[in-house]
């Protein structure tokens, strides 16, 4: 027994150090590993390394080959043809075919993936599979953003031969996924970790470099950082801005700033005005608030410099559509705010307060609220905050519409048609979380968005989007505070992370 133990003691270290393991820390438990039935960040941060999409997005959010090795777009942007790689295989050995793509879209994504369902569901006329390695999307109208919505986060491809038996929501493969991506599922220990192994037959030769990818669930951000510092963990996906200064001086830790992640990109923290309520329905009040809030201070003190003041309703990251000067007239000027409110008839009463407004928000945005409270009380507006957990907030804002103001981070995505349109079109009013919370109704805006979505040429689309932004700047249904950047941190021995995308560990070494 003793001899056996000593031999084991000597052998085990050798066998274990032979394989390279990357350990990643993330805060939330995924619950399950099917990225096709949810857009939740907690699932995608794990599952996007197991599955693949037709394309993947590079740093500039431009498409690169993933499952599809090449593609052609018709001139009218109505027909998209993809050639699937010959050597693309599922982790159980079956070949990835066009049937899988067709099945995934029609039976999974268009039913359960909320962003793809609402964005592409009605646009796709049919999906053709002329041969096992060729798939053709035929659209009802021109839609050039189509291709940016086909990465693993928006449109992961699921294996038909596994999921076609049963309901995707309850399928056992949700806890035992068979994907086609760089890593193969090994084990999911609930509340603890997900273990993935290198896919040796991955179609991009030479990748991934790591033999094993372990994703650790560490709910507390301070514990995550401590783990990174001690080397127990190699990569953290969300680092609080407050740690920036301290980590910058640490040579063993490398930081990266991104405007996108597996949960969405090009995000703007936005105040929604409830246009159906008394005070916020008054344009003067909305304009006054815009002048009263010091957004530079928010970038400095709340974001710790990780971001910038929003200069337009569309994020600067979508450069071709961004109307740079649209919000220029709303400079930070408490004096202007006071004048506007005086003229609108909201004079200061004996206690110095003009009006009281309430704001609903998720607890993690409380720092923004504190800054806003200070700014607004200077001009005589008493801001009352209601921090609610996610479910309650969503129900209060979108179902009951019981708020004057709310604070949400709306992510635009790679194209304005993905994450911008939903906030402003009148068809999106109602119990639809993260949509048109202001209940903004403007038929001109509706038709401009529709037009812009159907034109093929980005230059022509840009004209429409710029027109939209100028109208929005006049009507001010929302107030766009700041564009956020996300901070990721990793062990400086490791590099090559694609932190802006779902399959962030693809090139890591």
């Amino acid at each position: 027994m003793k001899i056996f133990a000593t031999i084991l003691l000597i052998l085990i270290p050798f066998s274990v150090f032979a394989e390279k393991t990357l350990v990643v820390a993330t805060a939330a438990d995924p619950g399950h590993l099917n990225p096709g039935i949810t857009t939740g960040y907690n699932v995608h941060v794990f599952a996007d390394s197991i599955y693949s999409g037709l394309i993947m997005l590079n740093k500039n959010l431009q498409p690169e080959p993933d499952l599809a090795e090449s593609w052609t777009i018709s001139d009218d942007a109505k027909t998209f043809t993809f050639n699937i790689r010959k050597d693309a295989k599922w982790h159980d050995g079956h070949s990835v075919t066009s049937e899988d793509v067709k099945y995934t879209f029609e039976n999974v994504l268009f039913k359960y993936h909320s962003r793809t369902k609402s964005g592409l569901g009605k646009k796709v006329k049919s999906i053709l599979t002329p041969n096992p390695k060729k798939v053709i999307f035929q659209l009802n109208n021109s839609y050039s953003p189509m291709i940016t919505r086909l990465n693993v986060t928006e449109a992961p491809i699921l294996p038909k031969h596994i999921f076609s038996s049963g309901n995707p929501n309850d399928h056992s493969a949700n806890l035992n996924p068979i994907g086609s991506g760089p890593f193969i599922f090994k084990k999911y220990k609930k509340g603890e970790s997900v273990e993935l192994l290198k896919n040796k037959n991955f179609y991009i030769k030479g990748l991934p470099y790591f033999d094993k990818l372990v994703m650790r669930i560490i709910p507390d951000s301070v514990s995550q950082l401590l783990a990174l510092q001690s080397g127990e963990v190699d990569y953290i996906d969300r680092v609080p801005g407050a740690e920036l200064k301290r980590l910058q001086n640490n040579p063993s830790i490398a930081l990266a700033r991104n405007t996108a992640g597996p949960g969405g990109g090009n995000c703007i923290v936005t105040i929604t005005y409830n246009l159906d309520k008394n005070k916020t329905s008054n344009l003067a009040v909305r304009k006054a608030l815009a002048h009263a809030i010091d957004r530079d201070r928010i970038v400095k003190q709340v974001l710790f410099g990780l971001g910038r003041v929003a200069s337009a309703p569309i994020n600067k990251g979508i450069a071709w559509a961004h109307e740079y000067n649209s919000l220029k007239e709303y400079d930070f000027s408490p004096q202007k705010a006071e004048d506007i409110l005086d003229q609108a008839g909201y004079k200061r009463k004996s206690d110095g307060i003009r009006m009281t407004l309430d704001i609903v928000h998720f607890p993690r945005f409380s720092k923004y609220i504190e800054a806003m409270k200070q700014d607004l009380s200077k001009v005589g507006i008493n801001l009352v905050s209601r921090a609610l957990d996610r479910s309650a907030a969503v129900s209060t804002i979108f179902e009951k519409r019981d708020f004057d103001l709310n604070l949400i981070s709306y992510c635009n995505g790679a194209d304005p048609d993905i994450g911008v349109k939903r906030m402003y079109v009148s068809t999106n009013i109602g119990n639809i979380p993260f949509s048109n919370g202001a209940a903004y109704r403007n038929l001109k805006i509706d038709s401009l968005f529709d037009d812009a979505g159907q034109i093929a040429d980005n230059n022509l689309r840009a004209k429409k989007y710029k027109q939209i932004q100028n109208i929005l700047a006049n009507d001010l249904p929302y107030w766009w505070l700041v564009e956020r950047q996300f901070l990721t941190a990793h062990n400086s021995n490791v590099s090559g992370f694609r932190s802006w995308s779902g399959n962030f560990a693809l090139n890591a070494k």
């Binding site: 929501n169 509340g191 273990e195 479910s391 939903r422 639809i432 979380p433």
Partner: protein, 319 residues
């Protein structure tokens, strides 16, 4: 005694009923957390129909109770696995943390409480209770971070988080040794935060017992001060500690959440909070059921142990 045992299932049903309606009354529903972002009306309808959330509340309650009687606790919306499986996974880590911490803090607390009562000098008599009050005022999570900073970062002895080593999957003996290594710091945190209560409790009761006449009698029989305490008063003083230990067990099954969060320990406390946040009704009710059973069984056991230890106390029927 029989009455007590019958009380258990009746109380369980009442508790589950109340919780069922309470959690459904909370604003929000599971759809938002299941769907992620941008839920459309059709998607919401689909999910609600799938989980039978559109039926009237009383019908849902009846369906739930009918299933409970057949032992079917339902499937967790979030984890897509049977509720019993999900809870089962987390029970062992929780027990690993809770049971040793209660046992160790009880014994250690009794010893320290005894030390502080028997000491001859005033300084040594008050130093222990004063230190315990100071230590117990430290918030648990801060204590956890302090221990991590000292033992893991500075001394590099113990791992920082989780229950097992993420890099290497260990088998057999190494696996268990690894778990013990990971257990050390969270356990230490739990012990320190519970210690004060035991120390102060024991000390108070012990001082009271010492003031009773029988103590003087014992001393006049020839027993030394210390011997008299150990042979006689200590046994009486331990009784409240036992009650409190049983009480603490019920609390800590889910109450250890702070420690669990700091150390990423996969316990029931974190699971409960998570389940409530995402409105995972079957899971919440399942955890509550297990919790209620534990609390009630434990109360019964504590009373039983009491009657065994203290001959003055017997099971009297309600009269």
């Amino acid at each position: 005694m029989i009455a007590r045992i019958i009380q258990i299932p009746i109380t369980l049903v009442i508790i589950l009923c109340i919780t069922f309606f309470l959690i459904h009354a909370a604003p929000g529903d599971p759809v938002a957390s299941l769907a992620g972002d941008f839920v459309t009306k059709e998607y919401r309808d689909l999910i609600i129909k799938h989980y039978e959330l559109d039926k009237p509340l009383t019908i849902q309650a009846l369906i739930y109770f009918k299933n409970i009687f057949t032992g079917d606790f339902g499937t967790s919306y979030y984890f897509k696995d049977s509720v019993l499986n999900v809870i089962g996974n987390r029970i062992i880590p929780t027990l690993l943390l809770v049971i040793p911490s209660i046992v160790i803090s009880s014994f250690l607390g009794i010893y320290l409480g005894y030390l502080s009562a028997r000491s001859s000098t005033v300084l040594s008599r008050i130093s222990i209770p004063v230190t315990s009050i100071i230590v117990t005022s430290i918030p648990t999570f801060w204590l956890g971070y302090l221990l991590i900073l000292f033992f893991s970062i500075k001394l590099n002895i113990f791992p920082i988080q989780g229950i097992s080593n993420p890099r290497h999957s260990l088998e057999g003996l190494y696996y268990y040794v690894d778990i013990i290594f990971h257990l050390f710091l969270p356990l230490l945190t739990m012990i320190i935060s519970q210690l004060a209560q035991v120390i102060l409790l024991l000390r108070q009761k012990l001082i009271y017992e010492i003031s009773l006449p029988y103590f003087r009698t014992a001393q006049s029989k020839g027993l030394s001060y210390r011997k008299a305490i150990i042979n006689h008063s200590l046994q009486n003083a331990i009784l409240p500690v036992i009650t409190v230990a049983g009480n603490r067990f019920s609390f800590l099954i889910t109450g250890s959440i702070l420690t669990e969060t700091v150390f990423s320990w996969p316990g029931l406390g974190r699971l409960m909070i998570q389940a409530i946040e995402v409105r995972d009704y079957p899971l919440v009710l399942g955890i509550l059921f297990i919790l209620s059973v534990i609390v009630m069984v434990l109360n019964l056991l504590t009373d039983l142990v009491y009657t065994l230890i203290d001959p003055r106390i017997t099971f009297k029927s309600d009269g």
